[in-house]
């Protein structure tokens, strides 16, 4: 399956103009002098063909199939289906549970993306200070990122359990009761968000850290000499330099957050009272548990279109705000 991870590249820094790679300068022309077009096309095919073929077969073809399914009333497992046009779409938009699913999705996504960025940047700033033990701390903080979502969900079940969990015991020790994480939708969603952040923030921090270390120290110092306080210098000097990294992280963490599944599956199965049912989880539940494959495909298509729209907005935003 097309995996999507929260990993981002080494932050954007210097860099060539994307449309004109340096190698395609005059020297590049010289390289290709004796090549006939078909030969270089064949070469291109050899290099890029396998990847593209795999994507067409295992991603784009199923995507189109899924668009077709979304127009059907089809119980998964059945050999036959009925054409219902846009019926599945109108059904989703008029379903009384839809506003709740949208709300859960928006809250979860905003909290994990924005929360992850803020926490990740704070951690990165902390790890960037000249303190002893930051090397070790850096490793520990990133470690949860490499764990399986299923395993993470299972281990946190026992942390949050109001009766037998360590969190409840700690709250009790300071005289507080444990919130009803598993029975109150208002607490279940924050719980899922915390676990997601626990698993994924370390990576955001790592990327930010890499970007911060590329900021020359004298820039910090220059800002401080100007009499600016640490916060002002951070806001005026460092933050703008992190712009490209922030953009990249916002795109990639958004994509992975909207598609997250296994923590919810391991901890709440979308409950209680559908309080942790995101659109992605609903797609899974309708497709496999309820078995309404057509309806599930329609929701998946809606989610795909939303992702497309967000990305388009992102593109516009970036085109307007050129950093160099």
């Amino acid at each position: 399956m097309a995996q999507l991870a929260t990993l981002a590249p080494p932050p954007a820094r210097t860099a060539g103009r994307p449309d004109k790679p340096p190698v395609h300068g005059a020297g590049g022309q010289a390289l290709r002098k004796r090549r006939t077009p078909w030969k270089s096309w064949l070469l291109f095919l050899l290099f890029a063909g396998p990847n593209v073929a795999l994507l067409v077969i295992f991603t784009y073809k199923p995507l189109v199939q899924s668009l077709q399914y979304s127009l059907l009333q089809w119980n998964i497992g059945s050999a036959t289906a009925r054409f219902v046009g846009l019926g599945n779409y109108t059904a989703w938009f008029t379903d009384p549970t839809t506003p709740n699913v949208v709300r859960v999705t928006v809250v979860f996504t905003l909290a994990t993306v924005a929360g992850g960025m803020v926490l990740g940047l704070s951690l990165a700033l902390l790890l960037n200070r000249k303190l002893r033990g930051t090397g070790m701390a850096r490793t520990v903080v990133v470690a949860p990122y490499v764990l399986s979502g299923v395993a993470v969900g299972l281990l946190w079940l026992f942390v949050f359990d109001p009766n037998f969990g360590v969190l409840g015991a700690m709250l009790k020790a300071v005289g507080l009761g444990s919130p009803d994480w598993y029975n109150d939708p208002a607490w279940a969603l924050p719980m899922i968000i915390v676990v997601y952040l626990w698993k994924n923030t370390g990576y955001v921090a790592l990327i930010y850290l890499a970007a911060l270390q590329a900021v020359p120290r004298d820039l910090f110092e220059a800002a401080t000499l100007d009499g600016a306080g640490p916060f002002a210098s951070f806001r005026n000097v460092v933050l703008p330099l992190l712009g490209p990294t922030t953009f990249f992280l916002s795109v990639t963490t958004l994509l992975s957050s909207l598609q997250s599944f296994d923590i919810i599956q391991a901890m709440t199965q979308g409950g209680p009272l559908e309080g942790t049912t995101t659109m992605m989880y609903q797609i899974y539940q309708e497709g496999f548990a309820t078995g309404r494959a057509g309806y599930s495909s329609a929701i998946a298509t809606i989610l795909f279109l939303v992702l497309l729209a967000i990305t388009a907005v992102q593109m516009l935003f970036i085109q307007k705000k050129v950093h160099y």
Binding site: T245, Q269, T311, I318
Partner: protein, 448 residues
Amino acid sequence: MTSSPFASLNRRQLLQLAALLGGAGALAACGGPAVGQAGGAATDKATDWTAVTPAKEITWWSNHPGTSKDIETELIKRFTAESGIKVNLVTAGANYDEVAQKFQAASGSSNVPDLVIASDVWWFRYMINGQILPLDQLAKHLEFGTEDFNTTLFNDYEFTGSHWAVPYARSTPLFYYNKAVWEKAGLPDRAPKTWAEFDEWAPKIKGAGVMPLGLGKGTSWSAWWFCNMLWGAGGAYSKEWAMTLDTPEAVEAAKYLQKIIYTDKTAAVTAKDQVADFGAGITGCTIASTGSLSGLLGTAKFELGTGFLPEGADGPACPTGGTGLAIPAGKAPEQQLAAAMFLKFLTNAENTAYFSSNTGYMPVRTSALEGETMKAVYAKTPQFRTAVDQLAGTRVQDWGRVFVPNGDKDLTTALEKIMLQQGDPAEAFAVASASITKSYEENVLPYL
């Protein structure tokens, strides 16, 4: 350098991409369901089973209910020794839902088994999808002796006059109580006969320092044990396909549930697992599956008591659950016949008792109940006797819960609103009924 993966594309390229997607559509035309053709269940067509030679090898998809892999392997060994037919046991998932996911995804592919786990909420969907075979002809041909099956357990799989599965690992809810707590509260050593009696006893149990009753939640669970309160009050989820949750009896049952949770505070909904809470001594009694009995016996630090589910105003009421076994349609008759022979072997009196004694599921045949194997079990764990005795009074599930794809899920949501948020029962039930009716009309009715 730009920071978005997509930033370097212009509008023309996006259009090209869209065009290519259209092209992939042509590629995608093959596979998937046939649109517009008549669908529905397989028919009990007159295969002349006497002319069929059974296959030499079959595949069985199981999730090994009750960690029964060793038991299943042993039964297979005995069957192969007797018949010469080889059975490949496949772990098709950790639970019924995972097996169902896989079975439905496999539909139409070459990867369909010859025998498959079919739980109480799944077999009907297999049936309307045309995935499984009606078994009556085969059972007659092989002389299953179906009249010896426990009537409720067998008729759970009946629809339009045919039986679509055979009971295998079957359970019922059971009332569990903590004998130490009972003693402290000065109660007789038995389960309360009625919910009214529970209400009398509950303050005493509370006086013994524990929450009296722990209730389970979550899909495939809450709406299952609530059958007891609902039916006991004279209500039902549905009558055939018509939802009946708007009756005063149904609302009454939900109000009783709210009364013990919110007014009397003699019952609490568990955070995760009511069996674990009860086993740890947090609650005085609970309703859990008979399948939990051996686990509780192994871990509870107190003496464990079991009893029938309390009766309501309308008398006793107990549903059944667990899983049966079904034979996929669309396989060769040779495979189907061999699978049916294995099915008969697996569920005969001797083997159902063997399976039961090792897992804690109910023996599915009446003649097995008083056999040697079961008698030895009762002698060792008298608590199991209660579970088996309760079987006689069980009732077939309401269609609205188990036959409609999202039935159990919608009912669970309604019950969680009632139990966790003190929501208005009539309103919560109305929402669930509307959704289930709609789903019936869209996902079930066209296939009947």
